[in-house]
Each structure stands twice: as C-alpha cells, then as structure tokens.
Amino acid sequence: MPWIGFAAHMKIKLSSIFVDNQDKALGFYTDVLGFKKSKEIPMGEFKWLTVISPEGHPDVELVFEPNANPAAKTYQEAIFKQGIPITAFEVDDIDAEARRLKKKGVQFTMNPTDAGPVKIAIFADTCGNLIQIYQPPQKKS
C-alpha cells in the first residue's frame, strides 16, 4: 500500500504530569505559576483536572494525574532524586520569571543558566516534580 500523501491525523492536545495531590497542584500551578484552570471534573476519589497557559496555545492542556499508583510514585520519586525535570515550560525572560517565582518562595535546584542555545532553570513544583523553564534562543537578551 502506497504511503504517498499520508498526513498525520493525531493532534497533540494533552500533556500530563503526576502530582501527589490534585488540589495542591491546582493551587501551585494557578496561584504561583500563573496557569489558568481549564477543567475540574470530579471522578470519585480523583478529578479530571487540567490547566492551560494564558500565554500559550489555548488547545494544549496540562493534565494533573494523581500519583496514587505505587508505580507512578516510584517513577516520580526516582526522577526527582536524580534532579531531572519532568517537563519544561517556555518563558520570554527567564531571569525575571525566576526572580518572580523566588519571591513567592519557589525553590530552585538550578538558577538561570546558559545551556547551549537556550537558557534554563529548574525548580520544585511542591507536588513531587522538578520543572524546567527555558528561554528560547531568539528571545535571549
């Protein structure tokens, strides 16, 4: 069967991270990081809970996945222990953003640092994850 003219029909609309407590995650990601709540639909003990970036593409949502599964917890803790961020968000001015977050008590494991073409920083999200922020090259000051 020829594959000519085949186009991808899948869309990337969701990205997910494990969190140890969905309510705590919603608080941190909205009040501190500045994302906007999109969906909060109760499902028994847990929720279908997503946020969107007011800055970003409105269709991409970040899902907060409960880490109630012991396998998820093991994975999350091991990655954290290694100092590895679970995902990365783009910012225009990384120094300003890091200052803003530090004022709110956010703990960084890496201050804004040049890493090849990008500038990156890493902080703890209070839900068991390390998150990287990066400033893309074209916007570098």
């Binding site: 407590n21 639909i41 109760p42 847990f46 899902v63 100092g83 703990q107 494991t109």
Partner: protein, 167 residues
C-alpha cells in the same frame, strides 16, 4: 538554591519519614539523621514538597494502611499497628477524615473489588487518561479556542457532572 547534595538529603529525609523499621521516626530524628536543624528542615521540606514533614508522614501512613487493608488479610487493628499507630481511635479518626470512610468500611468495599489474587482495584490507582474515560473525550478536551466558548462548555460539563452524580 538547592544544590544536588541538599536535594539528595531532602529525598533521604522523605524516605526516612515513610520507610521506618521499628517505629515511625520523629521529625526531629529525621532532621538529625539528615543533618538539618529542625526549623530549617521543616521550612525547606514544605517549600520543596508542599507539605510539612509531619503531614507527609501521616499521609504516607494512611496510604500504606489503605493498601494493606485491601491487599492483606490483616484486621483493621493489625493494619493500624503495622503502619505505626499505637491507638486504634486516633488511627480510625485520621483515616476517616482523610479517606472519607472508616477503615473497616474501606476494607469491606475495596476488598470486594480486589479480585483473586488481590490487587489494588483501578478506581484506587487510576491512570489519568483512564479518568478521561468517565466523561466523553469531547467534554474532556477543549475543542473551542475562544474563552467565552470555553466557559459555555464548562457550564455544560458542570451540569452534566452534577446530573451524573445525582443519578
């Protein structure tokens, strides 16, 4: 800033709070073993993990209890002791407050769902995308960009969820 060594000590402290051998370690003891002053330990732990060491420890105890109640043949009293509580009264009270039902109701309800051989039922350990299965994907994912449209949709979700709960 939290450098790599400090991060390792914090993780070690978290492990010690949860994985004790004889009896749960006090917050003071964990701070001592990981080289923190009590004050600095509590403050830093909360800033990094979003809860105090004590909150983390009791949350971990209740989670272990939930798993043991479903997976083992132990009685509520045995589970209470196994996760480090000495008083059944305070264990039951804390468990009920956190989980929303007593340890014995929890055991009855979820052991039935645990199968043979027992494993944790999916409703206790969801994958997030399986949560989406409880609503139609159309409702779970934004299809509209404009925020007024989003708000309108959200109203619909909430009504449907309420209707669903009423059923």
């Amino acid at each position: 800033m939290i450098h790599a060594e400090l991060l390792r000590r914090l993780c070690r402290a978290r492990d010690l709070l949860r994985d004790w051998e004889e009896a749960p370690l006090s917050v003071n003891e964990v701070a001592r073993r990981t080289g923190f002053s009590r004050f600095h330990f509590i403050r830093l732990f909360k800033a990094v993990f979003g809860e105090t060491p004590h909150q983390y420890q009791s949350k971990a105890q209740i989670e272990q209890a939930q798993h043991l109640l479903v997976l083992s043949d132990s009685s509520v009293t045995d589970v209470c002791m196994a996760v480090g509580f000495s008083s059944l009264g305070s264990f039951s009270a804390l468990f009920s407050r956190r989980v929303g039902m007593s340890p014995s109701s929890f055991q009855q309800r979820y052991r039935l769902l645990a199968g043979n051989p027992r494993k944790l039922p999916p409703c206790l350990i969801p994958g997030c995308f399986s949560l989406m299965g409880h609503v139609s994907p159309k409702l779970a994912i934004s299809e509209k960009r404009r925020s007024d449209a989003l708000d309108r949709l959200r109203g619909t979700y909430e009504n449907q969820t309420k209707q669903h709960l009423r059923r």
